[in-house]
């Protein structure tokens, strides 16, 4: 077999390109390459290399896998966060919600921010009670849990406000009690309406909101007294402090006005006509009060400015609570109309518009 391989090797040696052929093919290669737009006959510039590397990165499998993992993780996180924030007493995510609130609480260093946060937590408990009651899921155990935690939060907020007031920071104390007072008044109104509806319903679980309602009314009165005291403290403070407190309250009320407008805009079509009229009336009143408050500030009458801004804030808070309740009942009635029977608290049964 040796002669075969030798013959093949010998034959290969004879097959060569002539010098002219080599040159001719090389010229054709160069010409062809230079006319192709996708070939550059030079080293790429730094920015071209950067663009190229980004392009390769974007189309690499690693990038696609990484992007998928990030999107999946973000979606999961978002779902869990949504589930946690919407959790109610009795839900599996609820302990996590409370735990996160505790963590958030421990991360608030100033007394003012802690006080505002405790006020916010107290209001959250009331909202949970309203949702549970509206869905006929408020049993005695959950109600007592809410009563306990609500009491703890509002008392803590009030304590912090008193501490600030006696410490000389009346404007900060005013911010806390203003928040507590206005929201509690609004929730007393809503809870009363829901409680009435529950008691009038032909078939209800027997567990009413009454004990919680009494707690909230009592808390509201206590907070109101605190607010008066804090306001007096502000009045007694020097003019600059009172002016600052008035401006802060005007600022809070203006923000609340914007939020109310936003709620009205985004929920268009989902609110009953009576609710919209009630909220609009409160909004117009708030605008009037805010205008007065600003005029009072300009004329150095900070005490009157404080009062006017407070009235605006309270009216707006009532409006916002009405809208939130309306959204919830609308959602509930939509769900029940597609399936499991009507909720005993319908849109018409809660008359809190007056």
């Amino acid at each position: 077999m040796e002669h075969i391989t030798t013959a093949l090797r010998e034959a290969g040696k004879d097959v060569v390109l002539s010098h002219e052929e080599r040159e001719d093919v090389w010229k054709r290669i160069r010409r062809s390459v230079h006319t192709r737009h996708d070939v550059v006959d030079r080293r790429k510039l730094p920015w071209e290399r950067f663009i190229g590397s980004v392009y390769h990165l974007l189309y690499s499998q690693t990038f696609a896998l990484g992007a998928f993992v990030i999107v999946a993780f973000a979606s999961l996180s978002f779902s869990v966060t949504t589930a946690v924030s919407a959790a109610l007493p009795g839900d599996s995510f609820y302990p996590m919600k409370i735990g996160l609130e505790d963590v958030a609480s421990s991360m608030r260093w100033s007394e003012k921010s802690r006080g505002v946060w405790e006020a916010e937590r107290a209001v959250r408990r009331l909202e949970e009670a309203e949702i549970l009651a509206t869905n006929d899921k408020l049993d005695a155990g959950k109600r007592e849990f809410i009563r306990t935690t609500f009491g703890r939060h509002w008392q803590e907020a009030q304590k912090l406000a008193s501490g600030l007031s006696t410490g000389g920071d009346a404007p900060s104390a005013s911010a806390i009690v203003d928040e507590l007072d206005s929201t509690m008044r609004a929730h007393v109104m809503v809870l009363s309406a829901v409680n009435d509806a529950m008691e009038e319903a032909p078939y209800h679980s027997g567990s009413t909101l009454q004990p919680l309602l009494e707690d909230v009314q009592e808390a509201s009165e206590s907070v109101y007294r605190s607010r008066r005291e804090v306001t007096d403290a502000v009045r007694l403070a020097n003019g600059t402090g009172m002016r600052t407190a008035a401006q802060e309250r005007i600022h809070t009320a203006t923000r609340s006005l914007e939020e109310t407008r936003w709620l009205l805009r985004t929920g268009s079509g989902r609110y009953a006509t009576g609710i919209v009229s009630a909220v609009e009336a409160r909004g117009q009143f708030a605008v009037r009060m805010l205008t007065h408050a600003k005029q009072y500030v300009r004329h150095e009458d900070s005490a009157s400015a404080l009062d006017s801004a407070y009235l605006a804030l309270q009216a707006l808070e009532e409006g916002r609570v009405l809208l939130r309740m309306e959204l919830r009942t609308h959602k509930e009635s939509t769900q029940s109309s597609t399936g499991s029977g009507a909720s005993f608290v319908g849109r018409e049964s809660v008359d809190v518009t007056q």
């Binding site: 077999m1 002669h3 075969i4 391989t5 013959a7 093949l8 090797r9 010998e10 034959a11 290969g12 004879d14 097959v15 060569v16 390109l17 052929e21 080599r22 093919v25 090389w26 054709r28 290669i29 160069r30 062809s32 390459v33 192709r36 996708d38 070939v39 550059v40 006959d41 030079r42 080293r43 790429k44 290399r49 190229g52 590397s53 390769h56």
Partner: protein, 173 residues
């Protein structure tokens, strides 16, 4: 000292100087057509140039193996597209491998006979026979180009030679 890479045109010009004949020979012995062999060789270098120019990071480690791989892919495409011409047809149409001055008539006759038989050998054997004995590549090089193990290449070479030998014994039947 940093070994700076050559620009694409210089790198390819250098590769062309070194491997143009080898790639041409490889193409020629696979398609048995001198002009087509030149065209395939030209296309091989053009594709290599395109690759080297457009990829900063994809540095070619072994230019010879890279060129063979491109050429081999082009030939496979070519064969798929067009059935190979029979040797008889090639001879009738003036087939000439490009000898310029044959010295030994005996040798020429023997080589012609082997070429005729090489054309009849199945493609998988012919491919490795050309690479090994005409192109002068080692079984390891061939394995790298074809993406197979050196053992498999050696076995195929052995079988290819055996088949050529058997055909010669049978008078090319």
């Amino acid at each position: 000292m940093v070994d700076r890479p050559l620009p694409p045109d210089e790198e390819l010009a250098e590769a062309y100087g070194k491997y143009a004949d080898a790639i041409f020979r490889h193409c020629y012995f696979r398609v048995f057509d001198r002009e087509r062999g030149k065209e395939l060789m030209q296309e091989t270098f053009m594709r290599a140039w395109t690759y080297v120019s457009n990829s900063e990071k994809r540095k070619v480690q072994n230019m010879r193996a890279f060129l063979y791989r491109i050429a081999n892919n082009l030939i496979v495409d070519e064969v798929r597209k067009k059935k190979e011409l029979s040797l008889d047809e090639l001879q009738k149409s003036g087939w000439d491998p490009g000898y310029d001055g044959v010295t030994e008539m005996q040798k020429r006759v023997e080589q012609n006979k082997i070429f005729a038989l090489l054309h009849k050998v199945p493609r998988e054997y012919r491919e490795v026979l050309v690479m090994r004995y005409i192109d002068g590549l080692t079984p390891a090089d061939i394995a790298g180009i074809l993406g197979e193990s050196p053992n498999a290449i050696s076995v195929r070479l052995h079988r290819g030679i055996k088949q050529l030998h058997a055909m010669m014994g049978r008078g090319g039947k």
